[in-house]
C-alpha cells in the first residue's frame, strides 16, 4: 500500500530538485516559447500569393469570364458545407456555387475576401445578379495549427529525459540504492516521480500556452479543459514510457541512446511540423505506433476543428492503454541497483 507521507516526501524532494535546477527549468520554459514565437514570426507574412476561390462542384461550370481571371486558383469542393468550413478559417477567400443565379459566400472578416468579391462582381458572373451569403470565423494560422505539436513535443522531451535520464543517473550514483535501504517501496518512488514530473509538465504547458496566447491570440475552436485533459493523459503516457526505459538501464549512455532512438522519430514523424495526411501509408502506420502522434492528433483536433473528447476518444484509449502497459512492465522490472 502506498504511504502518503513517503510519497509526499519524495514528491517534494524531486520537485524542489527540479525547480532549483535553474538551467533545466529555464530550458523547459524557454525552448517551447522560443519555438512558438519563432514559428509565429517566420510564418506571420502572408505567403498565399494567389487568391483562392472555392467552387461547389466543378470550376469548369463557372461563367467563363470568372474562370479566366488571372491570379486566382480554383479549388473544388464536393458540397457547400465543406467549402464553408474552409472559408470560415480563411483557407479560401470566397466560395462559389455555379448556377443561375450564381450563389457566393464571403467571410466578412477577410480582407482578401473583400477584394475577391470586387473581382467577381467585375466579371460576367455579376449577371444575372448573384446571391450573396456570409460566413464568419477567424483564420487558422500555421501557428494555431503548430502550437499543439510544439507543446506536445516539448512535453515528450521533458517526460522522457526528465524521468528516464534522472532515474538512471540516480541508479548509477547510488541515490536509488540509498533509498532502497529505507522503507520506501519502488511503487511509491515511481509514483512520486510520475506525479512530480506531471505537475511540472502541466505547469510548463499552462505558462507557455497562456503566455504565448496573450500575444498571439491562438484560434482554439474546442474546449481548453479538453486540451488540458488530453495533455494530462499524454504526459502520463510519455512519463510512463520514460520509466520503462529507466527501469533497468544502468548507464546514462544506454538510457540516452534509447531515449534518443524513441524521441527523434517521434519528433519528425508524429506530425509536429507538418501534417502526415498526404504521407505514404506505411509511414502513417509507423507514426500511429507513437504516443506523440496520438497526443498531437487529439490536441490539434480540439484546437483547430473544435473536436470534443468523444471525437478523439480513440487517441485517448491508445494513450491510456500504453500508459497502463508501460507502468506495469516498468514497475515489475524496476531495479534499484
Amino acid at each position: 500500500m502506498i504511504s502518503p507521507r513517503r510519497f509526499a516526501a519524495v514528491f517534494v524532494a524531486r520537485s524542489k530538485e527540479f525547480l532549483r535546477d535553474r538551467g533545466a527549468l529555464a530550458w523547459n520554459l524557454a525552448f517551447p516559447l522560443i519555438a512558438v514565437f519563432g514559428m509565429a514570426f517566420i510564418f506571420s507574412g502572408d505567403h498565399q500569393e494567389v487568391f483562392k476561390i472555392g467552387v461547389v462542384g466543378e470550376a469548369a461550370a463557372l461563367p467563363a469570364g470568372l474562370h479566366a481571371t488571372k491570379y486566382v486558383t480554383f479549388v473544388d469542393f464536393p458540397d457547400e458545407e465543406a467549402g464553408q468550413q474552409r472559408l470560415r478559417r480563411h483557407q479560401i477567400d470566397l466560395l462559389v456555387a455555379p448556377g443561375k443565379p450564381l450563389h457566393y459566400w464571403i467571410n466578412e472578416t477577410s480582407p482578401k475576401g473583400y477584394l475577391v468579391e470586387k473581382v467577381l462582381l467585375g466579371t460576367d458572373a455579376a449577371v444575372p445578379a448573384p446571391i450573396r451569403g456570409v460566413v464568419t470565423g477567424r483564420p487558422i494560422r500555421y501557428v494555431d495549427w503548430l502550437v499543439s505539436g510544439l507543446l506536445a513535443m516539448n512535453m515528450m522531451f521533458s517526460a522522457l529525459f526528465g524521468v528516464g535520464y534522472s532515474i538512471v543517473r540516480y541508479r548509477k550514483n547510488g541515490v536509488l540504492k540509498r533509498l532502497k535501504a529505507t522503507p520506501l517501496s519502488a511503487f511509491e518512488f515511481l509514483a512520486a516521480q510520475v506525479a512530480s514530473r506531471l505537475c511540472l509538465i502541466l505547469a510548463v504547458f499552462a505558462i507557455v500556452y497562456h503566455g504565448a496566447d496573450f500575444f498571439l491570440h491562438f484560434q482554439r475552436l474546442g474546449s481548453m479543459l479538453d486540451l488540458y485533459i488530453i495533455f494530462t493523459i499524454g504526459a502520463t503516457c510519455l512519463i510512463s514510457l520514460g520509466l520503462l526505459i529507466a527501469a533497468r538501464a544502468n548507464s546514462e549512455e544506454l538510457a540516452g541512446g534509447l531515449l534518443n532512438l524513441l524521441s527523434w522519430p517521434m519528433m519528425f514523424l508524429s506530425g509536429v511540423w507538418f501534417s502526415l495526411e498526404g504521407a505514404p501509408k506505411p509511414i502513417r502506420l509507423f507514426a500511429n505506433a507513437f504516443p506523440l502522434t496520438h497526443v498531437i492528433d487529439a490536441a490539434r483536433a480540439v484546437m483547430t476543428e473544435g473536436a470534443t473528447l468523444g471525437q478523439v476518444a480513440d487517441h485517448l484509449y491508445f494513450l491510456i492503454g500504453m500508459t497502463v502497459s508501460c507502468l506495469l512492465v516498468g514497475a515489475w522490472s524496476f531495479r534499484w541497483e
Binding site: 507521507r5 513517503r6 516526501a9 524532494a13 541515490v175 540504492k177 535501504a181
Partner: protein, 309 residues
C-alpha cells in the same frame, strides 16, 4: 558474583544482535564465490569491524547483512530471527559510495529521509550529534569529504536504529577528518548502538573496534578482540629496518623475516639477539624501529600476503 551493573553490561554484551550464518554469494558468471561461507555474530552495543583487503568480500558481506543484497545461500538473523522488511526500520546504513539528491540542502536531505520512516530523530538532535550546524542549510553537493561523511552518517541515524552499518566510512578522508569521524563513531557507540564497520585500515579497526573479524577471499579467517587476537598469535614485536640498511641474512636472525613496502620486518620476541645479529652483519641501526605487532602483521601471518598486495 559480579555487581548488578557489571552483570547488566555482561548480559547485554553477550546478547547477539546480528548474526550471519554460512553466507555464500556467487555472482552470475563468476568462477569463485565473492562470499564463501562467512559466519559471524555481532554482540549488542559494540563496534564490530569487518577487516580485510580490497576485494576480500567485505562490502558484499555487509550488504547481505543489511538486507540490500540476497545471498546465494545462508541466512542473516536479527535478534535471533531472519531479517525481513521491518529490519529496514531498525537499521541504519552508510554505503561506501552514495550520492545525495541534487539541489537539496543538508536539512532537506535529513527531512526527506526522516519522512521515509515511521519514526525519526529530530533534525536538531542529529545536527548536534553529528556536528552539522555550520552547513545544515548548505547544498549537500557543496560539502567537503569529511562533512559529507558526517551527513551520510546522520542519514543512517535518522530512524534511531539499533544496528548501524558503516561501509568503509573514512576511505578518502584526510587524517584530521578521519579522526573526527572516529570520535563521532565512539560517541554513537556510547549511546548503546551496535555498529558493524568495514575497513581496510588496520589502524581504524584497532582504534574503533571492540571486536574484529578478519576476512579474506570471502571467509572469516580470524575473529575476536583486536588485542586478544594479537596476543594469541604473537608474543613478540616487529623490528623494522629500511631495506638498504639490511645487511644480514634471514637465517642468521631469530624470527620471521619479511620484506614489505621497501623495508625489512623481523617478527621476533628476542629483541636483543636480533639487534646484535644486525649489528654483527654491519647493518646501520640509525633508522631501525621497534613496534608492537599490528593487525596488519596478523593478516600477513594468516594469509602470507600483505593487506595491500
Amino acid at each position: 558474583m559480579p555487581a548488578p551493573q557489571a552483570q547488566d553490561w555482561y548480559n547485554r554484551r553477550m546478547a547477539t544482535v546480528l548474526e550471519a550464518k554460512n553466507l555464500v554469494k556467487r555472482y552470475p558468471g563468476a568462477s569463485v564465490n565473492a562470499v564463501d561461507g562467512l559466519s559471524l555474530a555481532v554482540p549488542e552495543g559494540i563496534c564490530f569491524g569487518l577487516l580485510g583487503p580490497n576485494g576480500a568480500g567485505k562490502t558484499t558481506s555487509i550488504e547481505i547483512m543489511e538486507g540490500i543484497s540476497t545471498p546465494t545461500s545462508g541466512e542473516v538473523l536479527y535478534r535471533g530471527r531472519p531479517i525481513g522488511p521491518d529490519f529496514k526500520e531498525r537499521s541504519g546504513i552508510q554505503f561506501q559510495a552514495t550520492a545525495l539528491q541534487d539541489h537539496l540542502s543538508v536539512r532537506e536531505v535529513l527531512q526527506l529521509f526522516g519522512s521515509l520512516y515511521p519514526r525519526s530523530v529530530p533534525i536538531a538532535d542529529l545536527a548536534k550529534l553529528c556536528d552539522l550546524g555550520e552547513f545544515l542549510d548548505r547544498d549537500a553537493k557543496k560539502l567537503s569529504g569529511g562533512q559529507r561523511q558526517r551527513v551520510l552518517l546522520a542519514v543512517a541515524l535518522v530512524n534511531d536504529p539499533d544496528v548501524i552499518f558503516l561501509d568503509e566510512p573514512t576511505t578518502g578522508l584526510d587524517p584530521q577528518a578521519r579522526r573526527n569521524f572516529w570520535d563521532l563513531v565512539r560517541l554513537i557507540r556510547g549511546k548503546g548502538k551496535s555498529i558493524l564497520l568495514t575497513t581496510h585500515y588496520m589502524e581504524e579497526a584497532h582504534e574503533l573496534c571492540d571486536e574484529v573479524a578478519i576476512v579474506d577471499r570471502g571467509r572469516v579467517i580470524a575473529q575476536g578482540e583486536p588485542d586478544r587476537l594479537l596476543k594469541e598469535h604473537f608474543d613478540g614485536v616487529t623490528i623494522e629496518i629500511p631495506k638498504e640498511d639490511f645487511r644480514a641474512t634471514a637465517a642468521s636472525l631469530p624470527g620471521k623475516v619479511v620484506e614489505r613496502d621497501g623495508a625489512v620486518e623481523i617478527m621476533t620476541h628476542e629483541v636483543e639477539k636480533t639487534v646484535a645479529a644486525l649489528l654483527a652483519a654491519g647493518s646501520p641501526l640509525g633508522r631501525l624501529k621497534i613496534r608492537p605487532r599490528s593487525l596488519e602483521d596478523l593478516f600477513l601471518e594468516l594469509t602470507g600476503r600483505g593487506m595491500r598486495e
